[in-house]
Amino acid sequence: MTASSPSLDLVDAIARGERSASEVLEHSLGRIEATDGRVNAFTRISHERARREAAAIDRRRSRGEALPPLAGLPYAVKNLFDIEGEVTLAGSKINRDHAPARADAVLVRHLQTAGAVLVGSLNMDEYAYGFTTENTHYGPTRNPHDLARIAGGSSGGSGAAVAAGQVPLTLGSDTNGSIRVPASLCGVWGLKPTFGRLSRRGSYPFVHSIDHLGPFADSSTHLALAYDALQGPDPLDPGCHALAVQPAGSQMHRGIDGLRIGMLDGYFLENAAAEAREAVQAAARTLGGVELVEWPDAALARAAAFIISASEGGTLHLPELRTRADDFEPLSVDRFIAGALQPAAWYVRAQRFRRIYRDKVNALFKSWDVLLAPATPVCAPLIGTEWLEINGQRHP
């Protein structure tokens, strides 16, 4: 990972007319063709649409128009985002029977307005219920740094496509870590924004009360510019409470001066392998965040998130679980069914705890601006790994 960005150079080069958007797109398509047989990040490539969008940027440039901020930048989306005219798979076999989407997802429309060029859709865990993108229907996405290892999940294609240099920008979703995990394991930048900042309309849901959408990128600066393009109010998404856009890209020059930075202790370090602890400690030394901070009720929060996700996710898919259970991903179908059958008392108690927990976390951020923790407790495991052993404890 680097703070500088070849993709920013690309945007500048296109704006100056040194490179055409079509030329940049063909380079991206060539890179995908050369690498995706091994990585398996893409489930569909939209050649026609991509070439049409790139040509439109080049025409605007030739007419002397001012170009939007991401003009000509190739990107791809997790295949739970609606793309007009295409079926939204959400990593499943069942959704192949759905009608094609009648419109693009809101965030795809925002990126199109910003001039980015949509190249295709990306592999994921079925219905976003997983951390590995070992998808039985579409094959595992492999980590570009070591093809024997997972890319993480559930937005594994989104992390791997950036890490493989196929596209400099992707979109994913995050309910319990599905942006953070693949970004960490693939060594790229990922942002799970605060719940309610970005519209989720036109994306296939997993857990309505926890789902977030967000970007992956090849630099922090580029991530900020993409986040700016993605923001905007959407009164038609009940989970989107943004009333205005707060630009992040223009704030990057401020650096970290004045930020109160700490490092999380306790649960986060106790449940991390040595290499993960060393990585976060190196970041803490660089950023000056050496004071240790205890995050409140982390184990309880994990339990509540697990119960809420299982219950909402299982209930969402109950009609298909009744009739087509054998068509679900074998790795997650039994968890979906268990979630659908959970006692309501567990779910309600988890939601009552959630309010108490939220207030404690909000109070913590009155004292801190940035709290560092490992995004994943280990390096990318080998494909097929069923159990992780961390500090003498086995985890499924």
Partner: protein, 70 residues
């Protein structure tokens, strides 16, 4: 929790929800349910007052004002 009781619960609630389960699947689902029961036990052990309501849909705080000239 007794594994047989968890399996009985899974079978009974599957009937209530009209969700067919064969023997092998019921057993695998029961294993997941037992694991979740252990997590639910952590929350059950927590003291929650009667007026602690379920969380509403989260709304982020308003944006902080930007620096002048930003």
């Amino acid at each position: 929790m007794d594994p047989a009781e968890v399996l009985n619960y899974v079978k009974a609630t599957a009937v209530m929800l009209d969700l067919p389960l064969d023997v092998d699947r019921a057993s695998r689902v029961a294993s997941h349910m037992a694991r979740t029961a252990a997590l639910a036990g952590l929350l059950d052990a927590l003291a929650i007052a009667v007026d602690d309501e379920p969380a509403e849909l989260f709304r982020p705080a308003p944006f902080a004002p930007l620096e002048p000239g930003a």
